[in-house]
Symmetry: D2
Subunit: 390 residues, 4 copies
């Protein structure tokens, strides 16, 4: 390639995979009709279920979570369903487009993309439209780096007997969020973000309420890549796969889940949180602004930094890469050009990478002519780390 590989990637995903995941990806390709593979697949499914803290078997789909969410929309949302879509960012907004293909009517609550949905808004929506059947929400709207209060929203949705679909792709595995305690009926995530795995699978938790609704949906796809129902029992050794699973990705997932469970979820979340906290302290100490309206809604897995006036995001990204070999993510859609995202996911959710991020971010701005005190940034970041690990 003409361009050298980055030295350190601090993206919002796909992220650098753990070495153990890379080794898992290189395992022999099992034959999907062989007993050994069937046992292995079920074992992986059980471990994913355990990691999801779910009482229903996990659902693995063999493509990444964006089409996974499309499939969830296609399968869950029927022609009689009124859907409340909660849009606090590009991904939340985007889900509405898929929903609209299938639903009877789309109701939407939209807030500025540096804000979070207020549970009271959801309560109000139900008051106005008690016929809402499905609520969709993104937990961490990655293009904004902001989080919605899914647990609070979930209780409201459940109370109104509606179904909730949660996109937790870039938060699960990096913080304390699970399907059942957040009342999610469909909970969508994947191995390519906080788990430090490869991006090529969707992981879902689907409960009985959701399965029943899908089974009753006359338009739910079958014999289709969009079908969740096709895969409902695929984890069982006595059931054939609807189509060939992505064996290498399952191998990789196995490696990623093993790491997660062995390190201990609480330990994993803690280092994600500390890395984010240190990073933000450093960013702010350099006089920069977080994108999130309030730091409480900033994700522990991603720090979105507002692009300083007069600068272009692409120039900052290019400078950080050429000076230090450090790669960040830009915004997406509406947020493109307005913010830069520093990922804290998986392997790089370690405090020292907050220092790397602050240095590369600050250094890039200096290269573009801004007066930035990188030393102050690093001092602030390390103060957070030192205190937490005193």
């Amino acid at each position: 390639m003409a361009t050298k590989e980055p030295i350190i990637t601090l993206s919002a995903g796909p992220v650098a995979a753990y070495p153990a995941v890379m080794r898992a990806l290189s395992r022999p390709i099992g034959y999907d009709y062989d007993r050994h593979f069937l046992e292995f697949y079920e074992a992986v499914n059980r471990k994913v279920t355990q990691a999801l803290r779910s009482s229903s078997p996990a659902l693995i789909l063999h493509f990444e979570p964006a089409p996974g969410l499309e499939a969830a929309a296609a399968s869950l949302i029927g022609p009689d369903d009124v859907v409340l879509n909660l849009a606090s960012g590009v991904y939340g907004k985007g889900f509405g487009y898929w929903s609209a293909r299938y639903n009877k009517e789309l109701v939407e609550i939209e807030v500025p993309y540096n804000e979070a949905i207020d549970p009271a808004q959801v309560e109000a929506a139900f008051k106005k439209r008690p016929d809402i059947k499905v609520v969709s929400v993104v937990h961490h709207d990655t293009p904004s780096g902001t989080m919605n209060p899914v647990k609070e929203i979930g209780q409201i949705v459940r109370k109104h007997n509606a179904l909730m679909l949660v996109d937790a792709v870039s938060s699960w595995g990096g913080m304390d969020i699970h399907p059942e305690e957040s009342c999610a009926d469909i909970f969508v995530t994947g191995p390519g973000k906080c788990l430090g795995g490869a991006p090529g699978l969707t992981i879902m938790a689907v409960n009985d309420r959701a399965w029943k609704h899908m089974e009753a949906n006359p338009k739910a796809p079958r014999a289709s890549v969009l079908s969740l129902l096709d895969w409902k029992d695929a984890w069982r050794q006595d059931k054939p796969f609807p189509f060939t699973p992505s064996v290498a990705e399952v191998n990789g997932l196995d490696g990623a889940i093993d790491l997660y469970l062995a390190e201990g979820p609480e330990t994993v979340w803690k280092r994600h949180a500390l890395t984010a906290k240190a990073c933000r302290a450093g960013i702010k100490a350099m006089g920069l602004s977080l994108w999130a309206a309030r730091e409480e809604i900033a994700s522990p897995t991603c720090t979105a930094v507002r692009v300083p006036d007069g600068l272009k995001d692409d120039d900052i990204l290019a400078a950080a890469r050429s000076l230090y070999g450090v790669v960040f993510s830009s915004g997406r859609g509406e947020t493109k050009g307005k913010l830069i995202r520093i990922g804290h996911m998986g392997l790089v959710a370690e405090p020292i990478y907050a220092v790397v991020a602050v240095t590369a971010f600050g250094g890039a701005l200096k290269k573009l002519g801004r007066k930035v005190d990188v030393g102050a940034g690093v001092t602030a970041a390390t103060a957070v780390i030192d205190q937490a690990r005193a």
Copy 2:
């Protein structure tokens, strides 16, 4: 796992991956917005294009070929299209179900599943229905191990100005079949069969005629996992990916394509053909029958053997596995129970594995009480090899 891994897998796919592919799968996960990855992706695409001997850029879809074929049907076949589906096996028949979701009318030619489509039938169909717009055909209908004369059919389809969609998933890479010389407008294959790669991607060649038809199709999916159009220009460095590519699978594909091009396609095809020929000689010498009505239509990438009367396919498979650790494939759908398939794809498309197959197959029958002369089988198989390599 309770069950031991097989020693040698001679399946009809997924197949054992080459060691170099396994190493490629373990490469670092690139970030899909980074310049280095974009250059890499384009380079892989170019090599795939070269291997396809196609003049249009290859199309890579990020799931395995079964949904890849569904996506092709969804994208290509419009509400005004009369489709001629050629069904000589389970997969050919199955494509008709997808087609029927989108087409105006489905015309079908069906032959027994141990037979091949006769080009004259296609010519006759066009005479009767000159409004046929799309013809779909499976080159190697894997559940039968039989091949259709796609090149001859292609000329007829082209002459009638219709579009032809070819499923060459389990033949391409193992024999001399390419999109342009077979007049395929959409040619669907993947890395998980003869290329000895992992099963998690679809590779397509799509020509301008097909792209135009899709662009004119009012129902062609967009912003969907079923969309081919979304991915048309994804290989270009200046275009974002519609959704995150399966990075690890692309790494693996790169490894597989490099091996294929380095060994030389003609050399690869030759060892597939010789392995199949030796295997069949051995199978016949043991008094067994090929499933294919005529050996000329048996695929060089898979030998389907008729299950001897009075025996169950699963018992034969289990005996071969327990005695020798050798795994074969059963039939699928209509052919389940009637045949057993010995794969000759990728790594195991080497003549010595014909001996392994004959031994394990014959030995399994002996275990089940049949009188089988395994020695005669091996003698016949090796005679073919010895003569070819004299």
Copy 3:
């Protein structure tokens, strides 16, 4: 490379590594002064000790067993030691040359290289020379594929209060042989043969008697690659390594030992034995002669076949490789040209590879103009397998 990789290697070592070993070899390189690596190294040492069924901690040397044996000779044999060297093959004979560099006097029992040492000869030697202090013996003299009755010899040596050094490089891990039950004071082996690992380490069991003798040896090397004493306590976390360990090899050893312990040593030995037995049945059924004077002394890990009169070993090897891609080993030194060795070690110690071996061996002879009934060979080989697994 101009020459294609073999398809199947049935050598007497180095042998094909298990996929899990190859993955282990690709683990990150630990830093040998870091606590994590020190803990890992000790853990590996413990597992090796367990696999050796030894009550003293295993000794790992960071080069392959041939220099490992030289180091053992240099460390153990002092200027006052009379050494009895038992030579039933090239490796046994060779050890005498190293011994002669260090000992006071070398006494040798030599038998034809297709024969085994008779314990009575050892008893007689002690009668004649009660001053024998060290006895050296090769358990499986790989260049001959023959075994010596080490357990019986060991009891005699112990009775006479001498020390015994056993080379079990190519037998341990493939059959029931361990240091303590064979009264070996130094037991030398490695991961590159029956363990299916990489060849780059020596594994030893050294008991207190041997350590004491070394400590009392005024010429025992120190601060040298030839020193065993330097490494005595290297497994302990509080001791520095005498020089940098071969980290990747230790990673690979960890993978190999885990496989061995997980599969169960008895199971591993059983498949080695069955493969050898099936192979020999096939070889004999083709009218060929085993090299070993009696089949009882033929190793379960290697079958040495006498080169038929009028043929050259290299021609047979070349024919098997060009026809089938199968690689065997020739003899070494005295046995070069007289025999060909078929390895049954590690991954290929599976009965189906006996069939591969018989086919390739017989086919090679046919190519060279000999009348060989390969069918009869395979029939005989499979009869052994079928009976054992009935």
Copy 4:
């Protein structure tokens, strides 16, 4: 393991291996008597020769460079040789002990271990002792992080018709040092330092003068792990290996050499130099002292920092590891306790790791109660980087 893996290892070696090296280590284990492996080995040898910029074929020994140096001493230094050993550090001093085992007389020049040998001292030694036959010198004495002026010394040695043995283990591959331009007759290095490979091989360049001297040495070891002569022609396909090569290590070396040649040696050296320069700027800006008496003699591959008065090296190392997961090296022997070494070798010879080093070093001191301005350190380090890459 009880202890977590480090996050970032900045050791003086073994160092983190490049991902491509880890993949190379996982390649199949070739059989050392097979033609394919022999071709591969020769090809690797050629590439190593090219990287050494040597006109004689490289010599690969199958253990790490410490015993490699012992073997060089044993092979080169004969009973009639007067040896001048240049000791500017622990490794230089140590070589003298090996030399003394073989030489007629050992003459030594020793300077303080934070200093370098002055070529004038060597000239003076020859004046006094014109019978000096061999001069041994360490280019980068790793336990001190200091370099000797090998090129200047080499010219003097050559002029006096003596032989020079250079230990360039931890400098070659990271800076512009090669055997012929430094008049080294034996030049010893390895893949486990600046090449970012695994530590398990020795790489040497040996010229005809050295070979002749060894061949004339009556005590030069043969049939021994200490023999260089045994391996002289081992790279040739028509010569057997003296003992089994460490196949996995050769695979890894191949991967490491390919990376080095592909990136371009000059580019590699440049990033080593810049990383070291930035690191030292940061270290000094925090008020710390370099170990080296003058910065000119500090190696571009390792920064040795004087342990501040009143602190213990182990406490600093432990603090850096627990706070940031960053691992450094302590001193060795005489330098243990007096300095801490920050490695800049291979993968981590990238400027951003200078920032990591400065942060972790400074942070560790702060944890131990010292007033350290980490911000100033990072500012100074980045200033160096920013200027170099402006």
